[in-house]
Subunit: 307 residues, 5 copies
């Protein structure tokens, strides 16, 4: 156990040894194992956007085994997916990579002003599939948010008592926010705070923009001169918003884009003291060699061996 991992574990003083063990499994796995940085592969887009929109540009990715294999080869810290995808590979890859069961999901066959997710997995499913924890999406800004907070509270209580970790995707969205506001720096910081207060061990938020959504926040950012011009500054602020850096916060990029755009964000996350990335579409929507090459560079940046 490296000193850095010991330090990170020390932030979670209320968790039982089972949960700390599973958190250590994530932080000690893969190419970034022991560094305190983490790259997680999430594949719930088949549910979220549909299979063709997710996998047709790289057809092997229709196969659930592809993603287990890819996460292993790329040296990711963990692989996160819905029930069906994990059930379809958990035996074949048992023990090969830490798994996170994404326990709520959402489809896009219906437009909603205020999005919500369905509970699609249980803590007992995570246990029987050998997962290290559960993943849960909340939508701050949606009229369904309070119910979602209550759901993750119950999942968190059960997960922690069984030695699992809790990963929260905190994605502001809904009628309380403008489209631009979903990634605004104040909103991203707030999203990280809510996830931390809800008891998350690992928090995923969007890469923040310099936009400030709320008037009451604008005054404070101006008065206190909070630096948010550079991406790394915004990352540093979001990390501060999550218990002053005492929670693992990782960032997601969104839709597939160019290698360089991805890597620029990675560099900003690394410089800003972020704990890593969740890379989904930018991984499985490239041909495998291209994706492995991109993740190789990502890993190098996070381990300090590349710029």
């Amino acid at each position: 156990m490296t000193e850095r991992i010991k330090e990170i574990l020390s932030w979670y003083g209320s968790d039982n040894p089972g949960t700390l063990t599973n958190l250590a499994r994530v932080l000690n796995h893969g190419r970034l194992g022991g560094t305190g940085k983490a790259v997680i592969l999430p594949v719930d887009q088949g549910f979220e956007h549909g299979p063709a929109r997710s996998f047709a540009m790289n057809p092997p990715a229709y196969d659930p085994r592809y993603h287990f294999q890819f996460a292993i080869e790329a040296g990711c810290n963990a692989y996160a997916a819905p029930l069906g995808f994990l059930e379809a590979g958990a035996r074949d890859f048992a023990g090969d990579i830490p798994l996170i069961l994404k326990v709520n999901n959402h489809d896009s066959l219906m437009d909603e002003k205020d999005p919500d997710q369905a509970l699609t997995g249980a803590v007992s499913d995570a246990l029987r599939l050998g997962c290290v924890g559960v993943g849960f999406t909340i939508y701050p800004g949606s009229s369904h948010r309070l119910e979602m907070y209550q759901q993750i509270r119950a999942y968190g209580e059960e997960a922690k008592s069984h030695g699992l970790i809790v990963v929260i995707w905190s994605y502001p969205r809904g009628s309380g926010l403008s489209k631009e506001g979903e990634t605004g720096i104040d909103v991203c910081g707030y999203a990280a705070q809510i996830a931390a207060q809800l008891g998350a061990h690992i928090i995923k938020v969007k890469f923040p923009s310099p936009h400030i959504e709320q008037d009451a926040a604008k005054k404070v950012y101006a008065a206190e001169k909070i630096p948010i011009t550079a991406g790394s500054e915004r990352i540093r602020h979001v990390v501060q918003c999550a218990f002053n850096g005492r929670r693992v916060v990782i960032f997601s990029g969104g839709a597939a884009t160019t290698d360089e755009a991805v890597l620029n964000e990675i560099r900003a996350i690394h410089e800003g003291g972020g704990f890593g990335s969740i890379i989904g579409r930018n991984a499985f929507q490239r041909k495998k060699p291209d994706a492995l090459r991109l993740l190789d560079t990502v890993m190098k940046i996070y381990s300090g061996g590349a710029r």
Copy 2:
């Protein structure tokens, strides 16, 4: 146990031996037993459309025993029906044919923009009636879909822990979709993916049309040149959408029509690598000899002995 059935069972690595046994019972029963193809008789139309509209054209079908007997004589792999119909024959035909309890149902005495179903059976009912599994309808595209996903999640967890299989009827419908969109190729593929992610062992979807419903999907189908002109191509695509063919996907035809129309669809399903059919109204709304003759041809097509 044939090699093909062993192969299919190998896809379900997270299920307990009880569930695998029941899946094998379905796949090894009837005239298609051991081939990896399946034809299932479903009779929930008395609930869905009313008794006269369902059975008046073939009055013996008012009797619940008729359908057990028919499924046995036709050599189907399984018979699926609501609580009342199964309770009325499960003792008389105990052990004669695998039974699937359809645990949610819907009537048509009220029009709704966004359809929903009532839970009408329990996992405990399936167990006491000797069923191999439970069947559940979801309506992606309806405002009730998230609640339906949550219901099948809970049923699935209980069913699997008791060694039963889960069959999902994934029928997109509701205010999120146009009428034409309900059978659009993108929507059918998406419906198969959702059912698979929800943990279904067997997935039933409608026979897909070449229509593409969602704008975001249209771009992908065009860019990736996904072949969807021939029925068999669309079938192949839907099967791919369900974990690249690693889930049993069968297709339903809908309202009673001519023998030739039915058989053309069967041929397309067979050629496209589909796993079989669910044939309801086209079975019990014909006089018994006619229906048996039709199913005989269907079985021959699926077993490779007819065109």
Copy 3:
């Protein structure tokens, strides 16, 4: 045990001996015991319409003991009432007549477009009061119907596991139907089918009119030439709609009317193969001697001793 009762019990092959025993208790009790016909006294109108509208024309009927006594003297097969009415007499008349606890109820102090009922009794109440079963109203055609189906599903599961029978009052009503449609022949048949599929042992529907409510049904009734002109023909059709006569279907008449009107319906039910009647207001809203005289004639008709 008569052959006819043995035959009827044979239709319920999935029930445990406890439930069959209680079904036999109903069918073997009173003047029609052993004939396979049944007349049940239901008194929930105090709740449904208020006490004065129900009992002021025959004031002894305000007393809950009156109805136990009346059902016994008239030779009914069973007496059905809400919690309060049964609690008020179950000890005094313990063992004298089979009791059915009406576990949901509705009042008329508020108009609703889509009616619903409140759960007012539990299976455990039915057991502690010595009842043979529970009675439950569903309103197909109401926006609350799916929830009602789910409630009776849960009650049915619990009742059957404790050896009780399930009686469903299937009364179509609500915004999905016209007023005339509530007793239309297609709707009554559909209502009987739904109750049967929900697992009812005894089904109560309204006496059907020749009206056909649904367009899709009109075509089928015409095409298949289903005879519905005579009352007895309509009764025969409704009985067919309930598993081809393999479920006990009894009919209710509604508001108090003349003896002759009541008896004409009884004759039609008897001729059409119906299993009997539920007679409430036409019993307790007459002076006791008049009511006993009317029921005497009813019993004679059903036992074949009168026309």
Copy 4:
């Protein structure tokens, strides 16, 4: 045990000895003990109308101990209050007077067309505080009524199984009724019937006015010539509506008014065969000596020693 109390207990033949014991405790306590009449002090107005509006005219009544003491000194049969008020005195006055935990409550900081109440106490609270039973308000005529009936059903089942009694405040109110209709004679009688059917041991209704609310009821009251001119006639009718007098029905007066107005209602209740009164604001909103004097006269009327 007096003959009258024995007679009253005989009406509750389905209750266990524990519940009968607690019912006897109420009927045998205080100045009216053994007569079959009862006066109960209810103090939930601090919750319902706010503390200043309830207690400022008699400030000692802000203290929860005041009401225990008052009920004891006045010789009431029981004292009913919400959780907080009972918790604040139950130890000091343990065994001094039968207590009824009012388990649902409502405030007036928000106007509603259709009122509802919150569950604020549990059967387990009633047991740990040494209460003889639970009190519950229903609002027939409100759109929330069915849910309220279901709540008291569950409370009643639990209370009775633990040997507690059930007291229902049946107060028609809501969009189904006119303001005048809330105390109309037909509505009061209906309210008493509903409470009785829901299984109440003691029923509280408002003092009825001669108004008839429902058209269908007007015809019956006219046709059957039900006497409702004198207050005592209306009382007699309401008592009849509650199982022909075989349930304990007591009456509430409402807002504080003159002694003479109160006593006139008491005389009518006594003459009409009512079982007593619930006197709240007319007790604690007078100075203690005045209130004790008023209740002394009330007790004398009910015990036959005054007019």
Copy 5:
């Protein structure tokens, strides 16, 4: 144990020794220990208003350990915070200061006419984190209030049976009230009464203004000449409204303001017989030395050593 603490404990005669022990822990801790006065530090503003708006003016406060440390140094009676903040320090500061788990929370990423809170912690969480009790916000005046009362009822039942105390933040808000009405004297008194009736051990309300919100209350305040001109008079009235002073009522000030404004309110609370304060933003939004200096004066006022 001082006489004053013994006296306060005597008001809670229905609580078990475990709960009394935890109440004593709060009242005997810190600089005001044993005086019967209490100052509690609450830090849920990161959740309620977002992290930057809460902590940017004093960045060390982003760190959850800061608040534990501050509450200890300032000599507070207890520290209250949501799940995440307590989990992040409960081990490091175990036994150093009584902790209160704030079990419901609300964010401000969405405007609502009728606010509600999400359940974010459980009684079992409070127990595993070594807390003395749970804190819960209710919003009298909101359309969600009845559901909130039901939630705290359930939490209270569980908490008390496990020996924990219940602290209710009673903050009127919502469509039933004007903005000014939220702190009106009648509304504050009513809010204290509701919390007391719901079974709270410690009640937090806003510092009341002389405004009277409800017409029915205005008449009573005028008729009874209730003194509400001076702040200390209004405090005295609110304390009276909470069971005539037999419940611990403390007051919150709201947004950060000048030292003198804060201290003027503290003096009024002390003179009016209030039990103390909850001081959040006026503590952690000042630099630590300034905040400690302010709280030092507050403590002196409450202990009688300053004006």
